[in-house]
Amino acid sequence: MDEASRDLFAQLENLEIKLSRTKSWGGLEAKPFYGPADAAHGYEGDPGEYPYTRGAYPKMYRSRMWTLRNIVGYGAPEDTREGLEKVLAAGGGGVSIVVDPLTTQSIDPDHPAFAPEVGLEGCSLPTSRDIDRLLHGVDLAKVDTAWHWAAMAYPMVAAVHVKRGQSLATLQGSNMPDMLQETMCGWGQDLIPAALGHQTTVDEIEFCVKNSPRWALGMPQAYDLRERGLSPAGEIAVGMAMINKTLEDLVARGMTADAVAASIAWVSTADIDFFEEVAKFRALRRTWARTLRERFGATDPRALRLRIACHTSGKSLVYKQPLNNLTRTAIQGFAALCGGVQSLEACTFDEPVCVPTHEARDLAIRQQQILANEVGAARVADPFGGSYYIEALTDEVEAEAMAILAKIEAVGLIEAVTSGMIEAMMDAYNLQTQRELDAGERIVVGLNKFVPAEDPPPTRFTFDPANTRAHVRRFAELKQQRDAVKWRESLLSLHRIARDGGNPLQAMIDAFIADASVAEVWGTVRVAHNHPYDPYKALTAPLDYV
């Protein structure tokens, strides 16, 4: 036996598969097995019946298949249009658009500090004309567009629809109006002051429910909160704290939970712990139904049954040996489907590396086709219902969520955000996770163990920035060419309404129709609430609001 061969056999112990953890990924300790005594509560009802633990619909995927979504967004509107067409050609069903961080933060592409970032990690869409370019020829009354973008998405898309001569009532699609999660997820209170963020969300939900009933609202945007540093139980707790506060404020404006909740879908994630995620989706639907009925008096099944949109966890994916991420996303997606979600976006395997390559996006679509057609993920509603372990874990996730929610509501949601209480909670969770990784109590393949000695640099998505440069020039030209009187009047009107405490959504739509940019519209709302026009304080407002 030569030396190399001897070494290999000496390492045999290290090569074996071992049990490295008995806690769930979210930190819940587990017993070696579960039995009837662990899932003691009686049968709660079939899928499609209150409290909807077993699913939102009686026949689940037999009656409504989940929507396969794939996110696209890079460069100028013309670039993202090309990417969307590739996805549709490969069999992707939903049109799901990601905007660049500048647009997301309502910063225009000519901001002096951020030129290197324009269009780099999403599509740059500073005006409604850009959205029109991206979706030219696409009938927004017939095609469902999903926007990974907070409050500004709706008024901008609505402006395009109205300019095309159609009514708000026929507008289809969805966005994620949750601004408060942004405050908590690294944006901070300079970018999104907590009270203004929350109020804007409430304004948008009120306006959409009344005027665009076919527009769906992704609320809470719990995906980012999980990615930032919450367990599955923490997701339910912080998410429900936001739902409770939002519904309370809408009820105070004279709306009913029945009218509002039917337009809402929860934006969730599936991390790598299969069982815990299945239990979370079940516990989430039950918590939602009970809260809506008992706290808000809802009776309409469309309000009581929660619809869930799931995007698999990006932070769970590993940079090294990135093809392993296909294994991870397959299991995460399967967990989401066993948990009964209504739409599923799988991260591409190269998510930790860059904006998705076309090949990686193609494989993400194939993965869901395999789940749908080969694995049997669509066959039976709530396939884990009655499993001793899953039933016990569902109860445990819910109990932990309720304990965290009680702590948040004891101080009040806005105070819990502004005082840094929730941020501290997430910091503690992340530090604990890091300590477990450092100590080997939590093993992630390719991250802190089984790291490949040689790993070729991963392929990066690249695209020609020529369109982006032309797009920035075109934006500067529009600012010169637009009707200055209409533009100014629209922003003055928006300022007046926002300052006087009215719902500013119609005025936002009007300003986008008058070719105001995303920074000008949001900046005007900020000024009306006594915040600096530019959160980065490099620019002053382009008009005085008198």
Binding site: P101, L102, Q105, I107, A113, F114, P116, E117, L120, E121, E182, C185, G186, W187, G188, D190, L191, E227, R228, G229, K315, V318, Y319, K320, P352, V353, C354, V355, M426, D427, N430, L431, Q434, D438, G446, L447, N448, V451, P457, P458, R460, P535, Y536, A538
Partner: protein, 128 residues
């Protein structure tokens, strides 16, 4: 004398989970951390390096704009007479860019999968 390590992020990047955790791990290891958070401009961060008398600067990027921002920061630091303060980078840094980053003056790169202990050792080596 303990090393003073200034940590922060440039641009619109909101992915500060990693650098916040790093800040706590470094503090627990006895390193003095000045955490200036997200959303700094190049000029603002270069001023902070001077004002805080930092011995080392740590940046984290999730955005692919890291080469341009890092180049701008190192130039701005040189312009303020603190070009000798080492700059280390963490986050999603692609191996193909390492040579370029060292060329523009980056002292250390801690990309995906880097160990906390290696970052601590790198900073300790800069003690004055």
């Amino acid at each position: 004398m303990t090393v003073r390590c200034l940590l922060g992020m440039l641009g619109t990047d909101v992915h500060s989970k990693g650098i916040r955790t790093l800040a706590q791990v470094l503090r627990d290891a006895g390193i003095e951390v000045i955490y200036i958070g997200e959303h700094n401009t190049v000029e603002g961060m270069a001023s902070a390096v001077v004002d805080e008398d930092a011995d080392i600067v740590g940046l984290s990027f999730s955005s692919a704009a890291y080469i341009e921002y890092t180049r701008q920061l190192i130039e701005a630091m040189r312009g303020r007479g603190v070009g000798d303060v080492p700059v280390m980078l963490g986050g999603i840094i692609h191996p193909d860019d390492h040579a370029k980053l060292y060329e523009i003056g980056v002292a250390g790169i801690f990309g995906p999968g880097s160990k906390m202990e290696d970052i601590i050792a790198f900073i300790r080596a800069k003690e004055r």
